[in-house]
């Protein structure tokens, strides 16, 4: 392959990606269409005044907030967050167990968000991995498991990688395990979660009030599991699901597609993010995940147990498993207790039952520099996104628009 070709191809592909971000004329047309369809839904079909659409993934919430999408669409469309933020839903119990290991002189590798995550119960007076580091523990922030592997191999000391994430990272973790990349001194703590069971759980909560009329489904999770994973959900709950990219035009197109399906009375799973997602996903990735992990009932922070929603290493890979090696206790349904601070409404926010501004702690005691709830920590946490963009109240924004 010659470099001239690579350069030009790359420029062309990058331009395509940027074009989904900065195409003003297309944006205007999409918004006009959205207004038309909403008008049709409310006037002709007499839809309720509010149409809730759930943007399941934290990164979609970032796009919606960063590009001000709520202010571009009619106020009758309410975009609510979903539980698609792994940092927000990892039980406090596993943060406490990681702190315990760190204080026992085991090197902990973790993503930056997890480092700041606050546990509900202290371990020897320590509430987070960052505090553990301040007490002299070896806690290292990494951006990928590959970094942890290289570093652990270099120093040779006992280490644990805190494997947080959804299906998106599961195939990478599986590849690392299957290929024997992990050195003997590095163990893996699998707290990976699965998204389709969480979407079903969330929609079940909303089934009674029937306000959630559509879901913007996670694009990057779907690159692995395929759009087919959502087909059953859209049929079971009778709502359109659109697998969306993460640029603003992607999200607007997905909203339009959901509304158009509502007009036609359809409830299909459709891919908008066609440049990266296929119906079947990546079959080799799915095979690797099945080979390495077993599916278990798992706890979600502030929510409780969701059946068959977590992944643990299979017994044949126990030589890599931090659970067995260091006696990390898994959380059982009988043990689970509500693990959010008093007043924190993080669980309601990620289940689409509340906006961050409806939480009594939001931007009072809970801020990005002093997060109380997990949703204020992660780059994908709805409260953190709202706080960093100074979105304090959606209704106020709409009122402001009306005045202008």
């Amino acid at each position: 392959m010659n470099s001239d070709y690579t350069d030009q191809l790359n420029k062309a592909m990058e331009s395509i990606e940027a074009a989904f971000r900065r195409n003003l004329s297309l944006t205007r047309v999409i918004i006009t269409k959205i207004n038309e369809v909403v008008h049709e839904l409310t006037r002709v079909y007499r839809y309720e005044p509010k149409i809730k659409i759930m943007n399941f993934c934290g990164t979609h919430e970032w796009t919606v907030t960063h590009y001000g999408i709520r202010s571009l669409i009619p106020s009758s469309i309410v975009l609510v967050a979903g539980p698609g933020c792994p940092i927000c839903v990892t039980p406090s119990h596993f943060i406490e167990e990681s702190i315990r290991l760190a204080l026992d002189d085991i090197t902990i590798y973790t993503y930056g968000d997890v480092y700041r995550l606050r546990a509900i119960r202290p371990v020897k007076g320590v509430y987070s991995l960052s505090e553990a580091k301040a007490h002299g523990a070896s806690v290292k922030i990494i951006t990928s498991i590959a970094e942890a592997i290289n570093d652990a191999r270099a120093h040779g000391k006992e280490s644990v990688f805190v494997g947080i994430g959804f299906e998106t990272v599961a195939s990478g973790y599986a590849r690392a395990i299957l290929s024997g990349m992990l050195p003997p001194n590095l163990k893996f703590l699998s707290v990976v979660k699965l998204t389709p069971p969480a979407m079903k759980y969330t929609l079940e909560i909303h089934r009674q009030e029937r306000l959630v009329k559509g879901v913007i489904a996670p694009g990057h999770v779907s690159t692995i599991i395929g759009a087919k994973a959502w087909h059953e959900v859209s049929k079971e709950f009778g709502i359109p699901i659109v697998v969306s990219g993460f640029e603003p035009i992607d999200v607007l197109l997905s909203i339009l597609e959901i509304l158009r399906q509502l007009v036609k009375g359809k409830a299909d799973t459709v891919i908008e993010y066609k440049r990266a997602v296929t119906w079947d996903g990546d079959l080799e990735a799915q095979k690797m995940i099945r080979e390495v992990f077993e599916v278990v009932d798992d706890a979600w922070r502030g929510i409780g147990f969701i059946p068959r929603s977590g992944l643990r290493l299979k017994k044949r890979f126990r030589m890599y498993d931090a659970f067995g090696e260091y006696g990390v206790r898994d959380v059982a349904p009988g043990d689970w207790v509500h693990d959010l601070s008093p007043g924190c409404r993080c669980a309601d926010v990620i289940l689409g039952r509340a906006m961050p501004s409806q939480c009594p702690l939001f931007m009072k005691t809970c801020t990005p520099s002093t997060p109380v709830g997990p949703c204020m920590v992660s780059i994908e946490g709805t409260c953190s996104i709202w706080a960093k963009h100074r979105v304090l109240d959606v209704e106020a924004i709409k009122d402001l628009e009306a005045i202008q």
Binding site: N2, Q8, A19, S25, L26, G84, I145, G165, H220
Partner: protein, 100 residues
């Protein structure tokens, strides 16, 4: 957890498990190949999430996306999509030239 960043594949190791990728800053970083390893070759634009390659952006996918936009938006979008179609044709021409 969908935060993904596009990157260019610089090199793939012999076992096709790891790749060196460039996020556009000129620094080569290791990324695990989380998808079918046959799909990843030097020069590809991939999406990397937490150090794992989770997808490859394909020209065919972009064309399908353009078709989706046309279908959703109708004729009004046709003119506005021209730049995308031009880009795709340039990229295709480059690929064909490389294969000659």
């Amino acid at each position: 957890m969908c935060w993904g960043t596009p990157a260019i594949v610089i090199d793939v190791d012999e076992k096709k498990m790891m790749a060196k990728v460039d996020f556009g800053d000129g620094i080569y970083r290791d990324a695990l190949i989380g998808i079918s390893s046959d799909r990843v070759t030097r020069g590809d634009i991939v999406i990397v999430h937490a150090g794992v390659i989770i997808s490859k952006l394909s020209l065919e996918g972009v064309l399908e996306q353009i078709a989706f936009i046309k279908e959703t938006m109708g004729d009004e979008a046709a003119d506005m999509l021209k730049p995308y179609e031009n880009l795709v044709s340039i990229a295709k021409a480059l690929r064909d030239r490389d294969n000659e």
